[in-house]
Amino acid sequence: MRVIFKTSYLQDIRLAKHGGHVFWYTLLLVLALVAPLLVDTYWINEVSRFLIFALAGLGLMIVTGYTGQVSLGHAAFLAVGAYAHTYFISHEMPFVISLLLAAFISGCVGLVVAVPASRMTGLYLAIASLAFAIIIEDMTIHWESVTGGNRGMPVPPPSLFGYEIYSAVEFYYIVLASVFLSTILVLNLLRAPFGRAMLAIRDSEISASSLGISVARTKITAFFISACITGLAGGLMAHYVQYLSPEIFGILLSIQLLLMIVVGGLGTVHGAFFGAFLVGLLESLISISKDYLPGAIGNQPGLEPGLFGLILVLFIIFEPEGVYGRWLKLRNFFENFPFYRRNTFKRQKTYLRTDRLK
């Protein structure tokens, strides 16, 4: 069992809390950097895809996992990011600027949702965000001059400083850099006062506001940041799919993102990555199993969403803390072996809360 002796406040603030963190995350980063030498192009593409989804999940995590506002429409921000980015680079805008601008526009669209949404909670917010996603989906169909409508639009290859990028490996490094930087920024935010304000709102809006946190403003800012990150993922995703069409960004994608963060573990950065990995794996498994399943089941159009929904429900019932939560429990078990107590993670009863004030 690791016991950390704290001798300075900085130890609490640092991102890597102890030597183990430094070692493992450096190893992970090195592995990610040399991955193209280890595996072939097909797998590199798969890893890029995983990272893009993890980034989108990270965006959703900010609003749903940390601030506690359920959004059923995050695919819309992916769509805004993807279409905006594609539109800009088709009009000769430099790649990096276009990507950042697309993320910013996505954030602004997020603001449009967030301002009315900051007055809603729970189910109402979920429904409002769902309605918003449908509006954006319709816009991608009908705003033909920008989006190409149902015909869709091709995505030009990314070009960095006049150098056009066609290879999967180079694209992988762009994705890796974006994900790495975004994750660091999010981790910074989470250890800063704003990160704590988000947690405060998730757990008790009433005491958050009595401590001086402006609930509406914090929710709106969180929505903006979340939409920016998801929009950035959208811009990258455009290059991954290479051809945009409205049906990519449907309700299924929103549910998939939600599934990712619930399965991964709500309220943790790890959760976004674990979730993206598992849901990606699940998708592959479904498409592989389709070959072996009898046609009557395998060819059902509702197979994927049905399974996604089922797994979401099972996780919420049996492991609300997700795979990352399960991992923490497992680690705790081995660290304390043989003294692990079964009830360590059992939720104690929560004492009566002031609901009347709502």
Partner: protein, 253 residues
């Protein structure tokens, strides 16, 4: 000298008059207690002071400033913090995190600076931890510093909530039943803390409490409410011997 002044306050919930023309004032550095049977409207007063309820009539002044319509989060910035009757902690965070959230009003860094986490943000984070550590020492919470709230027993949670309110460095502290659910020793401890909070930290305390031994021990003045109306005001002894108070609690003969 009047510090907090509540003037002709009335709150109606539909036909029910939760508060009916309540007036009182609290002097600086005083401990002022509000007592009364269940449903008398004690917590309603706190909820109006912290702007969770809108009064149908009346005004509240703090340091001669009308704060009746100020937003809840603005009140914290003015120096008014409170605790809740039914503990409202951030359950999934550690004790230290809770206390740091209590420091919210002392943060002035824009969000983009926090993203970058530059030197000024880092230094203020260290300063917040130092401040939180003082409160941890004061309330003897060191043992629980890194525990999740969800794993703490009731008595400790009460203490953490008080600590969180103190982290904001308020000038007026509203305590909603600080001793409810505590055993006699813990209640006595709460009494000592309230004395310390007043004498050492110079904070004015308004407290709602049922435990008369605690009220008598720490309060300068006591206000008794019944069915939304003020029935007595004065020292603890005066209020306890007041005929209206006795009949409100025990029923009149």
């Amino acid at each position: 000298m009047t510090y907090l002044k509540v003037k002709n306050l009335s709150v109606n919930f539909g036909g029910l008059k939760a508060l009916d023309d309540v007036s009182f004032s609290v002097a600086k550095n005083e401990v002022f207690s509000i007592v009364g049977p269940n449903g008398a409207g004690k917590s309603t007063i706190f909820n109006v002071i912290s702007s969770f309820y809108k009064p149908s009539q009346g005004q509240i002044f703090f340091e001669a400033q009308d704060i009746t319509a100020t937003r809840p989060d603005e009140k914290a910035k003015l120096g008014i913090t409170r605790t809740f009757q039914n503990i409202e902690l951030f359950e999934h965070s550690s004790v230290l995190q809770n206390l740091l959230i209590g420091r919210t009003i002392h943060n002035r860094h824009p969000v983009y600076r926090q993203f970058v986490f530059d030197k000024t943000v880092r230094n203020s984070e260290i300063a917040h931890r130092e401040a939180a550590e003082k409160v941890i020492d004061f309330l003897e919470l060191a043992h629980y510093r890194d525990d999740l709230i969800a794993n703490l027993p009731y008595g400790v949670r009460k203490k953490v909530e008080l600590a969180r309110a103190l982290c904001a460095e308020p000038s007026l502290l509203l305590l909603d039943e600080p001793a409810s659910g505590l055993n006699p020793e813990e209640t006595e401890e709460v009494g000592h803390w309230i004395e310390d909070i007043r004498h050492d930290l110079g904070i004015t305390v308004v407290m709602i409490e049922h435990d008369m031994s605690l009220v008598t021990e720490v309060s300068d003045r006591v206000l008794a409410l019944s069915e939304g109306k003020v029935i007595a005001q004065g020292t603890a002894e005066e209020v306890q011997n007041n005929a209206d108070v006795v009949s409100a609690y025990l029923g009149s003969a």
